[in-house]
Symmetry: C2
Subunit: 453 residues, 2 copies
Amino acid sequence: MKKRWNNLSLLTDLYELTMAACYYKYKMFAPATFSLFIREYPPHRGYFVSAGLADVLDFLETFHFEQEDLDYLSTTGLFSDDFLDYLSTLRFTGDVFAIPEGRLFFKDEPILEITAPIIEAQLVETFVMNTINLQVMIATKAARCVYAAKGRKLVDFSLRRTQGIDAGLKVARASYIAGFIGTSNVLAGKLYNIPVFGTMAHSFVTSFEREIDAFRAFAKMFPENTVLLIDTYDTIIGAHKAAIVGKEMLSKGKKLKGVRIDSGDMIALSKEVRAILQEAGLNNVLIFASGGFDEYKIAKVMKEEAEIDAFGVGTKMGVSADAPYTDIAYKLVNYDNRPVLKLSTGKETLVGEKQVFRIKERNRLIKDIIALRSENLEGEPILKLVMKGGKKLQSPESLVAIRERFQQEFQTLDEVYKALENPKSFPVTLGPRLQKVQEQVTFKVREKELGES
Amino acid sequence: MKKRWNNLSLLTDLYELTMAACYYKYKMFAPATFSLFIREYPPHRGYFVSAGLADVLDFLETFHFEQEDLDYLSTTGLFSDDFLDYLSTLRFTGDVFAIPEGRLFFKDEPILEITAPIIEAQLVETFVMNTINLQVMIATKAARCVYAAKGRKLVDFSLRRTQGIDAGLKVARASYIAGFIGTSNVLAGKLYNIPVFGTMAHSFVTSFEREIDAFRAFAKMFPENTVLLIDTYDTIIGAHKAAIVGKEMLSKGKKLKGVRIDSGDMIALSKEVRAILQEAGLNNVLIFASGGFDEYKIAKVMKEEAEIDAFGVGTKMGVSADAPYTDIAYKLVNYDNRPVLKLSTGKETLVGEKQVFRIKERNRLIKDIIALRSENLEGEPILKLVMKGGKKLQSPESLVAIRERFQQEFQTLDEVYKALENPKSFPVTLGPRLQKVQEQVTFKVREKELGES
């Protein structure tokens, strides 16, 4: 690629920089706290899975502008040389509280709070929102697929239709956190140490004179790892050919690992294919299904007892097709020790630095309380201090550890909140002091800005 | 960022590499042609806008594996040293025919055809699909927004909720091609030379003791470029404060550029805000609206004659929320001079190397004919040879030129095909020789693979 980005500090909205220029001009360097949260559940969601924090912390720890970035900003004619000089040495020096990756959280709860001089906290807004929005959305979608699959294995097949390259990588990461066993995405395998899967496409089958030639060639080449794609011409006839090749493999002491169906009526076809394989004495051959799967289609074929052992889950998971964005917001809640909020219709915010207390009984999640960080309530405080003075407080976690954290907590969430359609709303209340301060500040703001009394 | 990718050759599905290993083993180095096309329109779409080709050509021209990529592949245990050696010197040496960026195209039409030794053409599949899918989808969505806005100006505000970083950049690029006047995305402005826009957020307003202090501070700092966000506490009261500041600016010989509304009933509010501004003698102040806009919401407020001069169009455009993926496919259509196809249910493909002939009468698009490339039909052949032997045949086009190409052609498409809901289907037929070869090959494949005669 000719012109790739090496530094992402300019990956921000222009207004972050015009506001920063004002803050600089008016010497507004006081600490600000911004809170990141999701205002509403997307359709049919009743929980979110935390993901993306590692990427945010990497970004914050290395945040800086390079000379070519400043040269570009200078061409806009909006910024003084003074301010650009200031940017040239600016680093992120703030503190970050966050919900660790792999944990569950609910609407309105702060996923992350950044406290830093307002310029720093403002400039990183766009990257922080973008990163957490994508990974939370995908981890949540993937968790729903895993839940629907009831123990059947899932592999991420989405790379060809994710919304760009970065999404392709992050989808592999986030779906692995949520319990997928791996991905087809080789670069994600390399970068994140995620298991990679894949065998053949229709082009492989059609490049040979005959389908069975393609099957035999592949089986000879990868005798330990042969999954034959059987729907290029006709799934049932393909299954018979796969059975022939499977028996040939057996006679050489090898084992056909699986077959893959990528089109048609998966319920009926998978049952017919199973019968054909068993008839041929080929037991324990995996039937792998792909093509348009998401949590809804997985649930449907599971209910009809399709003979499917594993799913390749692609596009619809990889773009979270039924809910391709969240209503995520990053809002100033405290500036210079003054709790602040906005009142915009339908978009009111909760003031102040916050904590979420999670209450469990007999290993079940009971409720969460969103409170001021200074409140001392029962339950586990789930936001942890992960960055102090711009430095990470711990080395990066392994994805395997994050994945286990998710599995552990997901088990403690009752079924009613996990339903794929119209789940029950998990109880989240406000702490008593937060409630009080919220009312006081709302009153004061109304009085001051709206002339009410 | 700690571990960023420098090279994208591993951004591929594992099966591309296992198939390539087979082709290598069986000395299958003959030329293959793969065709990229979209099988169906997403809901309410009646055309597509070509976009993304420049990124594909950059990728192909620099395609190579680095030692660390090969080292990683070696750890999978799937590939012989022989094959990895072969990959170490592999370059893309093929030819590419493509529809230039900014042109319209329709379902089933090849957007791009790659002819190269099968290993090369196979390995690049995932990147090519990902890149064209995203940019076509967004350019198409953005074109619909531009169409709905009937000349009102649109700015891309989507970066915070695009699906990742790469998407954020590509959305800025694709929406600019489709007629947006610019983006809030500063890095996209730098990389693509797209105009950047933006002024202030709610956090700016709330960081000041009083809303009007924030307005005054901004107006003083950016007297030529002040757009005041007026909905932080109450839009109407905010408009009155903006009017005060606008009059103060006037008295200093400056002009308030605009106000922005980001929430609430845009139709009613924009009319009230216009009246307040006019009452204050502030004419020609732009009313800028943002918050949840897409082509449907734009059309609605336009129909109700909202007093909106420009729109900030964000998330719903940036993820193509009502159609977040296309049914794009990259299929082998010719191998070693043998036309091939697959018959999978609902996913049949058109054989052979193709061309699309576009027929215009009196400057209106009349119909397209998908034909074999060797057919000589009336109309303009719209796929151009853009790469030969792995080298680009022309230097990159400017986005402005691509943008103009789109505007020109879009004018020639009749309104019935542009409708935002249930557009009429543009006529696309098959050339006579393609039709004949398609029938012959289908017959032969059925006979050979399905045992029919």
